[in-house]
Structures are given as structure tokens and as C-alpha cells.
Amino acid sequence: MRVTFTVNGEERVVDDVWEGESLLYVLRERCGLPGSKNACEQGECGSCTVYLDGTPVCACLVAAGQAEGGTVRTVEGLAEGHRLDPLQEAFVECGAVQCGFCTPGLIVAAHDLLARTDGVPADTEIREALAGNLCRCTGYEQIIEAVRLAAGRGAGPS
């Protein structure tokens, strides 16, 4: 089938999509956007988190056809040209990135949190907002520090 949707501001028409494919597969294998990661295929790890119509979702749990006519924003769509989003900068700076496989999903989830929060969110808010994103390398502490740092630099609602 054909799926037409907007990804990172660009309209995409994707043909030959198998009806059982996920949005994640379409992004990764058909749109050349492998930034969203496939780590569990069941919504348990958050590595594939993208914005769908402004809401963070697990792209592995969205059937490709459900994105028809929708607007998707992936980790590839957060930086403005070569200028990283403050969250992306903070992740690198704080050591929140090790193997990095969870990073794209975490950054989208954290991006959503900061977009909804004025000022620096409390640790408990950060933890609850990122509870759907598994990281196996960092033990999370440097991720929390990165979110705080980015929020402190004014990465909040614009």
C-alpha cells in the first residue's frame, strides 16, 4: 500500500508498504531515517520514540497505515541544520551517551518533557517522563543531569 505523511517537515510518499509494517520500519527502511531505533518491538524500551502529531509514541506500535496523513518528527528533525538542540548538546556533554542506542528515543521523550515544563523539572518529573525509555549503559544519572542542564539553559517551551 501507499502511505503519505509528513516527516520532519517534508511530505513523503512511500509505496509498497506491507500492511503489517510498523511506522518504525517505514521510517528506518523506507524513508532513510534510521535514527529511531528498534530494540524491543513491543513498546517496552522507548528507543523508537517519535512525535506523531505532536505526541511522543513508540513508532514500533504504530501501524504504518495509521500514520497516513499524519505528521512525524524524529530525532533527525530536532537539530536545526548543524545547530544541535540544547538537549542534544547536553546529552553529549554530561556523558548521557554511551552506546547511544537508547539516546534518540530518550532525547525525543525528554524534548517533550521540556516542551511541557517551565524551568527545570524536578527529578521525580524527569524520572516519570523518561520511565518508558530503557538505557542499559548509563544507570540513568547522567541522563537526568543532561535534562536538567538543558532545561537550565532554557531548552523549555519556546
Binding site: P34, V75, F91, C94, G100, L134, E141
Partner: protein, 781 residues
Amino acid sequence: MTTRLESGVRGGIGDSPVRPDGNLKVTGEFAYSSDLWMDGMLWGATLRSPHPRARITSVDLTEAVKLPGVHAVLTHEDVPGARCYGLDHRDQPVLAIDRVRYQGEAIAIVAADHPETARRACERIVVGYEVEEPVTDARRAALDPACPKVHESGNIVRHQPVRVGDASAATADVVVTGEYEVGMQDQAFLGPESGLAVPAEDGGVDLFVATQWLHVDQEQIAACLGLPAERVRLTLAGVGGAFGAREDLSMQIHACLLALRTGRPVKFVYGREESFFGHVHRHPAVLRYEHGATSDGRLVYVRAEIILDGGAYASSTPAVVGNAASLGAGPYNVPNVAIDAYGVYTNNPPCGAMRGFGAVQACFAYESQMDRLAEACGLDPVEVRIRNALSEGSTIATGQVVDMPAPLTDLLERVRAFPPPAARITGEDGRPDLLGLPGGVANTTHGEGVVRGVGYGIGIKNICYSEGFDDHSTARVRLELVGGEPAVLVHTAAAEVGQGLVTLQAQIARTELGVDRVTVAPADTAVGSAGSSSASRQSYMTGGAVRAACAAVRARVFALAGRHLAAEGRGGRVPADLALADGKVVSESEGVIATLAEILHAEAVEETREFRHRPTRPMDPLTGQGDSHTQFAFCVHRAVVDVDVELGLVKVVELAAVQDVGRILNPVALRGQILGGSAQGLGLALMEEIQVRDGVIRNPSFTDYLIPTILDMPPMRTQVLEHPDPHAPYGLRGAGEPPTLSSTPAVIAAVRAATGRSLTRVPVRPEHITGHAMDKPSDLG
């Protein structure tokens, strides 16, 4: 030693420059093995056995081959070279031959134009099985001669005794015993097994893969493909975590076989479920310990039987047994030791490397015993450890002298001295914040039944490969002018698995060569082996190799500086106190001699060096004696937990760790290792287990194999000590594994303190805390 201006180098040793792959990773542009894509590529899929033990009576591919879109379906008959591979024993078939020995063993592989087509083709392969009763009891496999054999060679992969003094005759005032069990932990890296094999014009293959050790993969793959090693070229693709799980082969040979057969690139990406069958796990273990001590808590003897279930194939079981045996007495002085460690074959899932590697299982048991001893002697748990702790000059159970700093007393005292965490957090309305309570937002308690507990754990881990293994790493370093500026290219085959090795290699080159601009080339087999990214060894080994290659480059630059001076007519004498700094050759006494730009011109200075740590020796097969290790590392944890004793739910309130690393090379990356390692230890303590019954995995998914979330990890305090090891480059001590050892026993000790339960098995489940387990351990308090 030449004078170096180490501290002055920005982005050098001791600094935390940003990761060179950091920007790519945060923007989603970093190419992991699962992201690779080529025109015309096919997708691979694997048919796996549903049975843990069966004879294969027939394999019919007819229907699979007929499916449109299928390009190849292969079985063991299509393996042109060696039929089996393995890290140590080559006992694991590339594709099952006449029998399967574990659930999930690969039988056939398919290449098709869509992953769904490949899966459907697998479904059409008809395999005839004669199912047999699986061997699943590791202790029986080890000790009962009547137990059916998993392999013809017998069920014992390795039995390693350790004998010191006369532990069998020793008596003591205080005796504590315990039987402990460690469940099967999974590395649970987030990036499942994947890679892309591309057939080459020379009849060979290029493989892009996420692995921990390119050369050991290359060697095994080439043997099975029947190709010379130089025609099997590997390049490291982006690695989504490893933790030991990528030390064995998974899809490598399969992808190469299909690529060579179809003449097209073939990509494999395992899903999460397949990943649980696609790699080895941490050995589950049953450990029986008896410690004897004086009434004031000084150890007299230890007797232990450690049984490690290696599952169907050997993988790295022999080395895991070596660690469990040699480190089984823990970081303690014990005059009489009798340890017997066994690694066995069963029809359970194969087990091999995971962070901590044999030392984790033993640590849980001996630290549990130390707490029992403390209680029996009426001593504080930290005090009993201090009374027995190793120090520099002590001898461990293998007779090896600890000839490096071993500040265990200091570590223990520091962790004990940390202020206690605050009492429970309450919200603005005075009600307890659910997120701070056991059960969290699941709203199981508002404080009812919650008891706080504190516990400690300390461990000892060997760093680098042991027991006489020829452990080495290779580095090629090239210094040249690029656009008129000096630039360094570092090339090794060392696997960046997330730990930050790419950053570290560049830091070392900056420090050694005084050049800011350093690039680390992609890791591949075009340069010599770096050994594995495991055993906490890469800072030591590849760090050592990069440093050695830099030193060789530096020596040549100094020679060039002499030539330059002569050519300039500035005399033939070269100052003896030369150093490289800030792109210049400088002399402490005479100042700047020349810039690198002036010296190098169009010439590139390139040197390759192999680095080896001091040799180690095998363990004596009967007594375990021998200097089998090159370095020891230590970490201590304090855990503070709140336990809902009525419901058996645990909230870890705080973890504190103190570790000695010899020398801090990169503070941010080091802290990440301590935090991440501690998290994996917490996971083993409280939730992580591959549940296997009758050889069948019951929870191969992230829905039921639980790893800690951000709500499970508490805030952590860390402190790092730097007592340099005189034998190691920069005095460093490997740092990745020790935190994984000690956090598990610390968390469990804290839960015991809160509940009064003896809790002899990890992971602890709520029903063990409340006493509603199905199979109640006899000592469940």
C-alpha cells in the same frame, strides 16, 4: 621516562573531551549495525529449534525454497569449512547437524527480499525431531556419572580446584554455611545482533558487524567458510551495547554464507525475542560455602563448591570457571582454602561472558557469607570485612601476591562514612511521594509496611586476560601534516561498544604527541588484533598499545628534529630532554626547538606497536596455584533500601560506591562505567532473570525480562581513588566490571537488614521476601 606535559594538554589524559561519536549519536546519524543498508540487499532469517534436546531426523526445505522472494535456504550441508566454531572449544555447529542441544539452536537460514518473506520461508521448513529428555540440572551434570551426556566428551567443561593449607582439617570457633543461587542474567544490550555481509570480487566477503572482538570473529568465520582470513574482512559497525554478549558469534557466519551463496549483500537483524536465543547469558550458579573464623571474626578457612551452568556449548565457560575459582575466596586473607569450581554442559541456554565474568556469582556468595559471619561474631559488617581485607603484599588463594595497591580498608571506611540518605520524601501536601516508595505510582503503599535497610558489598575482579593467555593489542599511529597542521590518525581494531574507547584513544594520542587534532579510524581487521572489549581490559591494553605506538612515533619525530637542526645549521647536538607539546618539539632546558610543521614537511611518521601486559600463568590443575592474573580491581558499595515487608516490594533509596581506578583517564566516562555497572548489579539483585524451565526460556521479551528503569535506579554517590598500579600504563586499573560485582550483594544485604530474611537467591522476588514462594528455600527465615 620522558618528561611529558600531560596536565597541559586539552582533551588529553585526565580530561573529559566530548565523545567523537557523540553528535552523531544524539542526532540519530550514527550508523549502528542494524542501520546498514545497501542496494539490492537481502534479509536473513534463522530457523531455530523449539526443543532443548532432540535428534534431527529430517529437514525438508522444498516449500521454503518455492516461496517467491526467497533467494537461498541453507543448512549445515552448505557450510564449506569447519562445521563448528567456538571461543575456546570449537563445539558449536554453525547450523545444527544431527541434533539440537538447546532451545533456539539454529538449524537453517534463509535470505529473502523482505524480512517477512524470510520469516514465512522459515515457517515452511519442515524439521523432523526425535525429542529427548533434556539435561537441565547443572549440579547433577557435574557430579552424577549416570547423568546423560550433552556432548560425547562428558558434561564437565572444566573443574578447577583451589587448595591452600588444609581446609578440610581446619576447625574454627565460628562456622557459617550457606547455599546460594544466582539466576541467569542477560546482558540485555539495547541494539540486537545485526550486521551486513557483502560478497567481494575476490571470492571473499566483507562483514560489517557489531562485535566485541573483530579478529576472533574473523578467525572463526574464515575457518567455517573455508577461506583464508585475509578474504574475510571485518569492519566494526555501530555497537548498541555489548557487556559480554557479543563475544561469541551470532549471525556472522550465517550472513556470510548467504552472501556468498546469493552473490548479494545480506543483512541480519535479530528481534528482541530472537536476541534472547542469539547470544550467551551469564552463567547461573549454585554455590555452597562454609567459612570458619575465630570468635573475633578473622577467617580461618573457606570451603566452597561452585557450579556454573554453561548450557549447551562451552563458549567462555573455562575462563569463567577460572575466575570463580581463583577469586572465590573474595578480597580476603584466608589461610586455608578448598574451592571446587565446575563449569558444565547442560541443555539449558548457552552461557558465557557477561560483565563480571565468574566473579559476580562468587561475590554474591562470599559477601553473603561475610554478613553471616558478622552476625555470628556480633560485628559490624564493614568491620568484619576490614579485619580480613587484602592489602598490598597479601596473597590470594592462588598463591599470587597482590603486588599493587589494594586499599580495601580505605574503600570500606569511605563508603561507610558517607552521610545516610534523607528519610522518605514527602510531597507538598505532607503525603509521601509515591515515586519515592516501594511500588511507586502503582500505589501499593503510602508508608505502610515500609522498613529501611542498609547493606554493604565489596568485590575483587581480575583485569585483562588471565591464565597464560597471550593477551595483546595492536595500534597504528600516524602523524602527518594535514592542511599544514599536525594531525594524528589512530588505527586499532578495538571495539567501541559505548564505553568511550574512541575518546580515550584520542586522549592518549593528544597527551603523548602534544597534538590537538586526533582522529580515530574505524576499527577493522586491516590492522592487528586489539583483543576483546571485555575483562575491563581496553584502557589497559589498547590504551597501552596506542601509547606505545605514540612513543615510537615520538622517537622518530625527535630523530627528525635532530636532522632538522642539522639542516638548519643549528649544530648536531639534540637536547636530551625533548618533549612534544602544542604541535611543537620542545626542550625543558632550551625551550621550543621547532614546530612539527617545520619538521615533518610532507613526511608521515607512522608506527605500529603490539602491547602485552606482563605474562600470567595457568592455574595448577590440582591446586589452582599460580600467578594467573595481571591486575586486581576493587569496588565497594553501600545500598540503602526501603522494603515494603508485607508486599515484598523494594525501592532502592541510594547506592554509594567507592572504587580505586589507579589513575583517572576520563572522569565523565569513568563515572558512567560506575553508574552503569552498578545498575546492572541492582538488576541482578532485584529483577533480572531469564527463567528457564525444562530447558525452555519462559520470558524472552522485555515485557517479562525486566531491566531497571530510571525509576528503579536511585541517585548514586560515587568516589574514586587513584592509587597507581606500577605495572600498568599510566598506573590505571580497569574499571568497567568491579561495580557490577559489589552492587548486587550490597542491595541484597540491605533487603535482608530490612526484612530479616536470609534471601539466598538472586534475583530476589517479592514472594521470597513475603514467604510465598512456590519452592520455598529451606532457609527462608
